[in-house]
């Protein structure tokens, strides 16, 4: 589904990603772990289409198309979803209107008929239950006055509504207490299928107790320095990030 080859990216002339290689197939869950400043969030931002980053080398192929050629909105319309590390507050735009507009544009892009208001509302209710998102929050302005946990849950709710093929969760666990973490993880697990893939970017192993990854990659200084199965995350947690330095230097 996603193939990243030798990806280099920089911001303000400073190279952050220094040759990323990653292959992801439908149905898989990949965890990307690494210390602060290793380039995890940059990778997420580059995949989602943030324009501040300059791609200096490499390629990203998504379902046979050159992802880097697409605008951020077209990537979303093709099924790429980024759950933001810091979701933005947008006072004055209701969640409902936002999702209606987004789904409308995605369907138009795919050449599908617009969704009826009735079907939209049915879907809204269904998904909101599925990911345990408070119905009162649905009609409020996007993230306005939401707690940190509510914002993260709203990201997962949006993910449920937009039904992406590739979801990238950028530190979705940060700032969540254990109950909120469980709800968010449950939501992600319910949305998993044979046809979609998930990238989980995290600093800590804890989220991976709830969302079991198929593969774990360690990102360090702009490169994936080690890949393995889910046990790698436990090893990393146990030995700490100093362990990576040994790996790199070895």
């Amino acid at each position: 589904m996603l193939s990243i080859k030798n990806l280099h990216a920089s911001i303000d002339g400073k190279e952050i990603l220094k040759g990323i290689n990653l292959e992801i197939k439908a149905g898989e869950v990949h965890a990307i772990m690494g210390p602060n400043g290793s380039g995890k969030s940059t990778l997420a931002a580059v995949l989602a289409g943030r324009s501040e980053y300059e791609i200096t080398a490499g390629e990203v192929t998504y379902n046979g198309i050159d992802l880097l050629e697409l605008s951020a909105e077209d990537r979303a319309r093709e099924g790429v979803f980024l759950a933001f590390q810091y979701p933005i507050e947008i006072p004055g735009v209701s969640n409902i209107n936002f999702l209606k507009t987004a789904i409308g544009e995605i369907r138009a892009y795919k050449g599908l008929e617009p969704m009826t208001a009735k079907d939209f509302l049915i879907m809204l209710k269904e998904k909101q239950k599925l990911v345990e998102f408070d119905s009162k929050l649905v009609s409020r302005s996007i993230n306005e006055g939401f707690s940190g946990g509510e914002k993260k849950r709203n990201e997962i709710f949006q993910m449920a509504m937009l039904e992406p093929k590739l979801s990238i969760l950028d530190e979705t666990d940060s700032g969540l207490d254990i109950d909120a973490l469980r709800i968010v993880a449950n939501g992600v697990n319910k949305l998993k299928s044979e046809d979609n893939a998930t990238i989980i970017i995290t600093h800590y192993q804890r989220l991976l107790d709830y969302i079991i990854p198929d593969f774990v990659h360690i990102l360090y200084n702009g490169k994936i320095v080690k890949s393995g199965l889910k046990e790698l995350a436990l090893e990393l947690e146990e030995k700490g990030y100093d362990f990576i330095k040994e790996v790199v230097e070895a």
Binding site: I88, I90, P91, G92, V93, F98, A102, E105
Partner: protein, 433 residues
């Protein structure tokens, strides 16, 4: 003679018109003569005039102008402008009250609506008591000009204790075939403990030439009265509007006024609220959407004269193209006006490099136990918000539209009449196309 007039200034032309058309002008001769004298002293403001330095009315008023008040509008043309289906509708065409186009059947008890001319003819004591008593000709040349040269307008009186449920919609329409100057004038008197909702809309219909409308409305609000007032200014490219609204509020009255400037080549609003007793509440909301070469200037004055009053002001603007917007908000808190709460905020979004915004809050406080604040911001649309929306599949243009709507919503949501709110929302959407 004719060549003399052609080469003379607009001021000379106005004085000439005043002298030669006295028979058609409205109001007491002495009042008009004094007003004209005052206009003569002040003249049309130029760039040197501090209060008008950002809006060049003098440049607009070059060339030939007519003073015709022809009635050209048909029922069919006016119908779409009657956007409030359930309202008492007053149509003022080229400054003249037109009964035939208005809908004033079955007025409820306590509500009087008639032309200024009829109000004067019938020797209405309310009219005589209040007409031209509040907008001072010495303070502004356009007040002076209007007082001297108005021909008609509407008189609305809401009697003591009357609650008028349906909104009263005053539609000002201009239909010009030659460049024209008009001076419509309205007087609205709301008596003690009465309530009303009043909408003034400004439109042009099938115009072929520039219309300069110097419109003035005085609103007199007696104690315990509650009044909602809305102005919808949508005169398109040929409209040039100076709109003076002079309000006086008595004890414990509540007045909310909302000014929406959707189009018009030049719009100048002079809005003055005098809070002349205690425990008065006043709300001033404004939204201006400017583009192209539009010039829009909002000057507001809130004059706190007595203790224990609250005023709250919020003006927002979205500025595009080469347009220029000005917000000048004055708040006076007089020596007697202790325990005043007066708040003011002006927020702007500048969409283009060539657009201009001038914002100037002016607080003059002579009492020592008051709470007053003002703030002003000007920024671009937030890139982080645009990206967030795009990351969900919403295209850049629609993302920007959503954000502009969101910005405007704080002002739009304050509209209490649902049909009006829908109308304004729809027109804002058209502006954003």
């Amino acid at each position: 003679m004719e060549t003399v007039i052609k080469t003379s200034t607009i001021k000379d032309k106005l004085i000439f018109e005043f002298e030669t058309s006295k028979l058609f002008l409205f109001g007491d001769t002495q009042l008009r003569d004094q007003a004209m004298e005052s206009f003569n002293k002040q003249g049309i403001p130029t760039r040197q005039h501090e209060e008008y330095k950002y809006i060049r009315v003098d440049l607009m008023l070059k060339g030939e102008f007519d003073f015709s008040t022809n009635k050209n509008c048909s029922d069919a043309e006016i119908e779409p402008l009657k956007f409030l289906k359930d309202a008492y509708v007053v149509v003022i065409e080229n400054g003249i009250f037109v009964e035939g186009l208005s809908n004033l059947q079955n007025l409820p008890r306590g509500l009087t609506i008639c032309s200024l001319v009829d109000a004067e003819k019938s020797n209405s004591p309310v009219f005589e008591k209040h007409y031209a008593k509040y907008a001072d000709v010495k303070t502004d040349p356009f007040i002076a000009l209007n007082t001297a040269m108005t021909k008609d307008g509407v008189f609305i009186h809401i009697a003591k204790n009357a609650i008028i449920k349906k909104p009263i919609h005053i539609i000002h329409i201009s239909t010009a075939f030659k460049n024209t100057i008009i001076n419509p004038r309205n007087l609205i008197v709301i008596d003690e403990n009465a309530q009303a909702k009043i909408i003034e809309s400004f439109e042009t219909v099938d115009s072929k030439a520039k219309i300069f409308s110097n419109a003035l409305t005085e609103i007199v609000i007696d104690k315990h009265a509650i009044v909602d007032h809305y102005k919808i200014q949508d005169e398109k490219e040929l409209g040039y509007l100076v709109n003076t609204t002079q309000v006086i509020q008595q004890k414990q009255s509540v007045f909310s006024t909302h000014t929406f400037t959707l189009s018009g080549s030049l719009v100048r609003n002079n809005l003055t609220l005098v809070l002349d007793d205690e425990h008065i509440e006043s709300h001033l909301n404004g939204l201006y959407l400017t583009a192209g070469n539009q010039v829009v200037d909002n000057h507001t004055v809130v004059d706190h004269r007595k203790p224990n009053c609250n005023s709250n002001e919020l003006y927002k603007g979205i500025i595009d193209g080469k347009s220029a917007a000005t917000f000048n908000g004055k708040i006076f808190v007089r020596k007697d006006a202790q325990k005043t709460n007066a708040f003011q905020s002006n927020k702007n979004i500048l969409l283009s490099k060539e657009g201009t915004i001038n914002t100037k809050p002016q607080l003059e406080i002579y009492a020592d136990d008051v709470k007053c604040s003002h703030g002003s911001t000007t920024g671009k649309l937030d890139e982080a918000k645009i990206f967030y929306l795009r990351a969900r599949g919403i295209g850049t243009i629609n993302a920007k539209k959503l954000l502009m709507h969101a910005f405007a919503s704080e002002v739009v949501d304050a509209i209490k009449i649902e049909a009006l709110r829908e109308y304004v929302e729809e027109n804002i959407s058209k502006t954003f196309q």
